[in-house]
Symmetry: C2
Subunit: 223 residues, 2 copies
């Protein structure tokens, strides 16, 4: 790692101040900085234990994937976010698979899972961070579940489009209908039908180039 | 607490052997044994911080509840199970509500949340148990989510009926169609239609008294 990165990594790990010098060295010695391209798979399936990831820059999507290829987005990781679910080998009792893809060019610190696990067992500050982070991801996943179970799809789609537009700092969403269906755990036909409704109402324009929000006020009323 | 109960409680808390004597005393001094009747609400909503619960005997249902009254079962607690989500006030970053009801006569140890929190911060064994338990509940909830998202309802209903019959040690399920819909996050009409299909196939008999499994082998084929 370069000097800049050695200065940045401690800022991403809230327990850094409570590490002893040899512990800090262990993390530095067992962390690599990887770069990924848009769409590249970073983690997925039972097989691999990628490690603890901390986002230097970029955007990642964390999602569930069924055997039949159906997807649902659990949460996004943005700059400075940390994720332990990509190190499920060290998370006792975590028995589900998640998949992580880059959405845009991404730089990631990857901390070796075994080294992290050892620190978590020895140093209560690292262990507490683990509990807090897992609780946060649990809450995010339950929020998605409540949305899917309890919220109508028009509301969910409106919220999703507004969020995506915000992530892109504009009014245009360049995802396909298929991709949106994947994010929301729905079917492409259902999404297309609802987009057509929004389009007929002149809330959106839908074209090959993507979806453009025309009337943000009315779209927000669906939320 | 009576002598028997003072002997039982340590068996339910895996970290007991790693507590110091004053810590053990703190738990004994701040734990009560409550009894509940079938259907009684034990925990629910943002308001209350019931405490850490450990099941002496009985059965509990842990579920999500929407503002419109729609339910979905996340998991059951049986004898000797421990649950921290009923002490969400001490779970930093847990931002969702769960509801817990007794299903049948139930005896519960309830450990004071603040006392438990203090121990978890001081004693790594208690903290580690917290991480493991939260990870386990996270996994159970994600399993339910994957079922809902990725699995067909006939399969889910067949699994549910077999599980319920096992819990009752018999072939009869005394839940209403409405209750089954609540467990599976579905609608009563959908469940009734599917039960009628199973009934027409002579896999089940459906009457006012409940649902009886007639052909366990064929029901299992749906799973």
């Amino acid at each position: 790692m370069e000097k800049n990165d050695r200065e940045l990594l401690p800022e991403l790990l809230p327990f850094w101040g409570k590490l002893k010098e040899p512990e800090k060295k262990q993390i530095f010695d067992h962390t690599i900085l990887n770069t990924y391209q848009n769409g590249q798979k970073i983690h997925g399936g039972y097989e691999d234990c990628t490690g603890v990831i901390a986002v230097k820059s970029g955007r990642l999507r964390v999602y569930l994937l069924s055997e039949e290829g159906k997807e649902v987005t659990l949460f996004r990781l943005l700059d400075q976010d940390v994720c332990l679910l990509s190190a499920s080998c060290i998370m006792r009792n975590i028995s589900f698979d998640i998949y992580v893809d880059a959405e845009g060019p991404t730089e990631l610190f990857v901390v070796n899972a075994a080294v992290y696990d050892k620190l978590a067992k020895e140093n209560p500050a690292v262990g507490n961070f683990m509990t807090e982070l897992i609780s946060m991801r649990f809450s995010e996943a339950m929020w998605v579940m409540e949305q899917i179970l309890f919220m109508k799809l028009d509301k969910r789609l409106a919220m999703f489009l507004l969020e995506e537009a915000n992530l892109e700092n504009g009014d245009t969403i360049t995802l396909t209908h298929e991709q949106i269906a994947g994010h929301l755990g729905s079917a492409r036909e259902v999404i297309s039908r609802m987009l057509k409704y929004f389009s007929n109402e002149e809330i959106l324009s839908v074209s090959r180039k993507g979806i453009k929000i025309l009337d943000r006020k009315r779209l927000t009323e669906f939320v």
